[in-house]
Amino acid sequence: MSALFLLIGISLIVATGFLIAFIWSVRKGQYEDEYTPSVRMLLDDEISKKEEQKP
């Protein structure tokens, strides 16, 4: 049964890791602007060349 103690310990450590990751993400400002990144990721530096080759 002592394996259970170990597992509980590990599960708490993992959970704490997630909590720290969450706090870090808030601190970095990831929740300040939830919209712009969704647009930014669609912008590609190379599109002008591709588009201009089409016609």
Partner: protein, 812 residues
């Protein structure tokens, strides 16, 4: 909030500008195999082309904004002023500077792309990050290689003029309180999840002697995990409850706090004494759900500001004449006696005396009266007026903060404080609820102690307080109205907070402002019907019209503004009839059919919102102008729907020349009041409120600011929600004007949904109380009923408010 594609109706026959998409009306500049409507647009294209930034045009068609309307003559000299700079920038270490600029022009993904590639235009800029919803760009730049002024000037050149206002200077720091909510939610969720996991074995029975050690371990781990929730995550509820008590009110946070404390205390006792497992999982879950509700309710429209005052309208700097030289100074530094220069379309920031030049001051911003007032040298000019015409020189009388306009503002803001935050449904319910719960708990305790069962009496007493902890009750309001505020937001009606919906549901009187609220701001439609006019005749009409301050004359003059002004003699203006003058020996008349001699014309008056202005030149009768007042589309219908249920009033700062037109909407005996000053409007609303009426005010300008504040629900109507609107409870996009009746009905339905969900959660409470009174409240039962009731309420409120929105045709 979605990115709106630039939609413009493009006439296929005429050329449209490659940059901004506006039809090339006055001139077409062909360059680089593209056409541009003005030199400004071409210049932007060239700048972008030169720097390899033509991606801008690939992402969206014609993403630019036209530069013709806004003369790009803005001066940014003041940004070199060290004091102004210090107030604007967020951070600097001497070389690297960090600043956030507000750029209202940001509207599509091209804007985002271009502004984030700003380093290609100015190599001194290290990084620029756009916040799309707030329309802000954060620049990090090197002081040695560029300067704030250079960045601002370049931004202005490419059509993204940053906006600086006095407000920027005074409240630079924005609160980051929202982050705290996220932290608390994260901590609560972490603890809730782990406590739940560790409580499961208890629910399934750990009665075996062998597992005794686990039971203790789990209980103590739960205790440990519950500490952050008690000491950090739930503190806002205690604070709010305490604040309520100090004001003599029992708000919803009081029974919550009471429940939390009793629940925690009893759990602590059970764990430490080894008599039970406690209710730690219910406790942590409760806090987590309620924090979620709080976050949901706090939906805010970041890019909109509901708390603007005059400072947001005022410029940051003004041109000052010192020792014969022109320099720019921060407006807040202007001292009495200073000499300032005010150019065309510039706002006068402080009360002053006119020294040189012809003053033509438009006070529409302050009073709503849209006829400019002529001022001669030596006249007093009050702050808030806008100079139209040539540059004038003024001597300042008072500091900006001491001006008449500022005082008006301060007066009207004071009053709102008293009447706010009272009589919310939540407060009424929570008061009754709290008293009832405490009585039941004490009753249950007494009942058991009469049977001489003291432990059971204590058990029942605490169990009642625990099970009635009004989690579901407390979530009804935030979830219903939080969802409602989103639905209204999708319909372009943006509210400051959820309480506004409650206020809207009680509205029985609606007060409209005229200019800019029920009429579309800007010029009316003018059409000429009749024989073609010669240029000479056009010049005559223009010159005649400019001599009159009648709104129709102003509309005509504005329509013909490209004409030349010529000398006129024997000018006469006959009120209610028209204008006349002798020009080049010919008597020219403008006015009613009767006055100008069109006897045969049958309908001389109004016909579907249009007014006709007839023209006669000597004996000739060339034709007439049809002037259509730009009332908001669907105005008549909206007013008639609203008028059936509510009392309507119209307040206008203008004169009553439009009375006849407005009578078709508001009726012959309509409640119309003209020539109202801002203070009159405020007092009018206050009078209505003294008669126990719940008033909604719809206004647009600063002249309505006092009234908007005074009213129960002050709604600013705006053609462009990103423009500045006065402080208010909500901002309505003018396109959604005709949906006002639906908005009001939806608000009342939302309140009904809250009542029903109160009933549901009370039902859950009754079941719980039944078990609690008999002293049978097991941790498992609590752990089931609490989330069950919470989930029921969340589902019921969000679903039914979504269905209600569909019923009221408020779906996107």
């Amino acid at each position: 909030m979605q990115i709106s594609e630039p939609t413009r109706i493009i006439d296929k026959d005429s050329l449209t500008c490659y940059h901004c998409g506006e039809p090339c009306k006055e001139e077409t500049i062909a360059a680089h195999e593209k056409s541009f409507c003005c030199a400004g647009c071409k210049l932007v294209y060239e700048i972008l082309e030169e720097n390899n930034l033509c991606n801008y045009y690939q992402l969206n068609e014609t993403p630019g904004s036209t530069l013709t309307k806004k003369a790009s003559t803005a001066r940014y000299d003041f940004l070199d002023d060290e004091k102004v700079r210090q107030q604007l920038i967020s951070f600097t270490d001497g070389t690297t500077t960090n600043i956030t600029l507000f750029i209202p022009q940001i509207h599509c993904s091209s804007c985002l792309w271009l502004l984030e590639h700003f380093y290609k235009l100015d190599s001194g800029v290290k990084r620029s990050t756009v916040n799309f919803l707030k329309r802000e760009v954060n620049f990090i730049f090197n002081e040695q290689e560029t300067s704030l002024r250079k960045i601002a000037t370049l931004l202005n050149q490419i059509g993204y003029a940053p906006h600086f206002s006095l407000d920027n200077l005074e409240n630079k720091k924005k609160p980051l309180s929202n982050r705290k909510v996220y932290y608390k939610l994260g901590v609560a969720f972490f603890c809730f999840g782990n406590i739940m996991l560790l409580s499961f074995p208890e629910y399934f029975g750990l009665s075996d002697v062998f597992e005794k050690e686990f039971r203790d371990l789990f209980a103590y781990l739960n205790l440990l995990l519950s500490l952050p929730v008690l000491l950090y995550a739930d503190t806002d509820f205690f604070k709010s409850a305490w604040a309520g008590i100090r004001q003599g009110r029992l708000n919803m946070d009081f029974p919550i706090s009471l429940g939390i404390i009793v629940m925690y205390g009893r759990s602590l006792y059970e764990i430490l004494s080894g008599t039970g497992a406690g209710y730690m999982d219910t406790f942590a879950g409760l806090i987590f759900f309620m924090l979620t509700g709080r976050l949901f309710q706090n939906k805010s429209y970041e890019k909109l500001s509901f708390e603007r005052d005059y400072k947001s309208y005022f410029p940051v700097s003004i041109t000052v004449i010192e020792n014969g030289n022109e320099t720019t100074r921060a407006v807040s530094d202007i001292k009495p006696g200073a000499r300032i220069l005010v150019r065309n379309e510039e706002l006068i920031p402080a009360d002053a005396v006119l020294l040189k030049g012809e003053g033509n001051i438009d006070y529409s911003f302050v009073t709503g009266e849209n006829v400019p007032v002529a001022k001669k040298s030596g006249d007093r000019i009050y702050a808030g007026g806008k100079q139209i015409g040539a540059t004038i020189e003024l001597e300042v009388l008072h500091e900006v903060s001491q001006s008449r306009l500022t005082q008006l503002w301060n007066e009207s803001t004071l009053k709102k404080q008293e009447s706010s935050e009272i009589n919310s449904v939540v407060d009424k319910v929570s008061k009754v609820f709290t008293i009832a719960v405490i009585l039941i708990a004490i009753g249950a305790g007494i009942w058991h102690s009469m049977a001489d069962d003291l432990p059971k009496a204590l058990n029942a007493f605490t169990a009642v307080l625990i099970i009635t902890c009004p989690c579901a009750l407390a979530l009804s309001y935030p979830f219903t109205l939080g969802n409602a505020i989103r639905i209204l937001g999708n319909q372009k009606f943006y509210l400051k907070n959820t309480q506004v919906i409650e206020k809207l549901s009680a509205i029985d009187t609606i007060v409209f402002d005229k200019t800019g609220t029920i009429t579309v701001a800007g010029a009316a439609d003018v059409n000429y019907i009749g024989n073609p006019l010669s240029q000479n005749q056009i010049n005559s009409i223009f010159s005649l019209a400019t001599n009159s301050t009648h709104p129709l004359s102003r509309v005509l003059a504005d329509h013909l503004k490209t004409a030349e002004r010529i000398k006129i003699n024997n000018f006469e203006e006959i009120p209610g009839k028209g204008l006349g003058a002798t020009i080049d020996g010919i008597k020219i008349k403008l006015g009613s059919a009767n006055y100008t001699g069109y006897e045969n014309t049958v309908n001389a008056g109004i016909e579907d919102n249009a007014t006709k202005v007839y023209l006669s030149a000597g004996d000739e009768k060339p034709g007439h102008f049809i002037i259509r007042n730009n009332y908001r589309p669907g105005l008549a219908e909206t007013i008639s729907i609203l008028g059936a249920e509510k009392q309507l009033h119209l307040l206008s700062g203008d004169n009553d020349s439009e009375r006849n037109n407005l009578e078709q909407f508001f009726g012959k005996n309509g409640n119309m009041h003209f020539r109202q000053t801002p203070a009159d409007k405020l007092n009018f609303i206050a009078d209505l409120q003294n008669r126990k009426q719940h008033v909604m005010m719809l206004g647009d300008g600063l002249n309505d600011a006092g009234a908007l504040r005074q009213s129960n629900a002050g709604i600013a109507v705006s053609d462009n929600i990103n423009n500045f609107s006065p402080a208010c409870d909500g901002i309505l996009d003018a396109n959604a004007f005709k949906k006002i009746p639906s908005f009001l009905k939806f608000s009342s339905t939302s309140m009904k949904i809250i009542y029903v969900s109160y009933a549901i959660s009370l039902l859950y409470n009754c079941v719980g109380v039944w078990f609690a009174i008999h002293g049978n409240l097991s941790p498992l039962f609590a752990a089931i009923i609490m989330p069950l009731s919470t989930v029921t309420i969340i589902l019921f409120t969000t679903l039914s408010s979504t269905i209600a929105a569909r019923y009221h045709n408020l779906t996107a």
